[in-house]
Amino acid sequence: MVYHILVKPASYEYHRAHDLEHALELLGELGEDAKPLAGGQSLVPMMNFRLARPSALIDLARLDELRYLRPVGDGLRIGALTTHRTVETATLPGGFGVLSRAARWIGHYPIRSRGTIGGSLAHGDATAEWCVLAVLLDARIVLRGPRGQRTVPAAEFFHGFLSTAAEPGELITEVVFPSPAPRAALTEFAQRQGDFGLVVVAVALETEGGHCRAARVAAGGVGSAAQRLPAVEQALAGAELTERAFAEAARAGVAELEPPEDIHASAGYRRTLTATLLRRACLEAGA
């Protein structure tokens, strides 16, 4: 059957990888303009807009070896092809519930059902929930490439607007969350549910007798990549676990932020929104 239809994406060569070794081989052979295709929930829209015009796609769908959630010591290893929905609905080891709760914020149900954690990290959107959580919880991103395997801490992985430490020929195979975060929360605000958050924040608190002993804070939408917010962390250290104390620390901590400005929100709005979301996230985490 031959048919002629109008199409959105530019042409590309489709390749199907049988396993990880085959995928790496294809990535090496096909060169820099070839892209791995996981769930396709970020890459395919970009192709439909022709913002992305890969010469070839390497379909990873058959790599079942990269779909898993495995406890390792105190930590949790997640295979790159694990879908958001799998993390959302999984029974995770104690202290990792924040991953499931955060996954609910990702896009919509059909998108969560196909989109993968590895794909989201590789895309590196500043407001992607996994990018913010990876930075918050010091996740380690495991890459395989022509020179073997290497592990990059999340703090060094996101380089700015949709750009990461992954080099040509490299594929994310796994993300490791090294330790549990029993008092952690992620929250965000978007104009419509399921849209990219204007701002996404996540906090992990360590508490002691009604006080916050130490806090880790990360945010997306306040810079070109997901990032820690050290000023907020300092302001939260020693704070009481009350809404008022959280609100004060958040307000003080965001004062120096210089978020981007666009048609959706001014920098000032994003700064105020960040403080509001931080208060909510702290309340959820500290509860």
């Binding site: 059957m1 031959v2 048919y3 239809i5 199409v7 959105k8 994406p9 530019a10 042409s11 590309y12 060569e13 489709y14 390749h15 199907r16 295709l37 396709g40 929930q41 395919v44 829209p45 192709m47 439909n48 807009f49 796609l57 379909d59 769908a61 919509h108 149900y109 059909p110 998108i111 059902s113 196909r114 419509r192 549910q193 399921g194």
Partner: protein
């Protein structure tokens, strides 16, 4: 591997062998095969009109290339009715005014079909969260939520009394 690709795809139980170009989406491919119930709206993953099930999992048909569906089982809106008999979900959409112009309806039906299979007893809040996946410009969503809630309740009732699902 160069275009076109010869793939085998099962749609609503019928196997098709078809040549497809790599950049053609699953939604395009389905329509070319005659399954024109799958509607294309935005073609970049926002509106959900092209929602179909791939191996039981809901997917935007515009964000999957046809060639990716090689060897997969796809369900479209044409697979819901049993012959001339509408499914309970389809009847509920009609009864609760869950559609007006009907353009978005196949996507909503497939979305709800997948969701109820996974979560047979959802809360109204959960239904509202799920229908936010797709865009409807006519109904204001109220009727769609009512329809899905009604079907969930009726299926649960049927399961309780031991009668089979319609």
């Amino acid at each position: 591997m160069h275009d076109p690709h010869l793939i085998t795809i099962t749609v609503n139980g019928t196997e098709h062998e078809v040549l497809t170009e790599s950049r053609h989406t699953l939604a395009d491919l389905l329509r070319e095969l005659g399954y024109t119930g799958t509607h294309l709206g935005c073609e970049h993953g926002i509106c959900g009109a092209c929602t179909v099930l791939v191996d039981g999992v809901p997917a935007r048909g515009c964000l999957v290339f046809g060639v990716q569906a090689d060897g997969r089982e796809v369900r479209t809106v044409e697979g819901l009715a049993d012959g001339g008999e509408l499914s309970d979900l389809q009847r509920a959409f009609a009864e609760h005014h869950g559609l007006q112009c009907g353009f978005c309806t196949p996507g909503f039906l497939m979305l709800a079909e997948a969701f109820l299979a996974e979560n047979p007893a959802p809360t109204r809040a959960e239904i509202r969260e799920v229908v936010a996946s797709n865009l409807c410009r006519c109904t204001g969503y109220q009727g769609i939520v009512d329809a899905i809630e009604d079907v969930a309740g009726k299926r649960a009732g049927a399961a309780d009394t031991g009668t089979s699902r319609p």
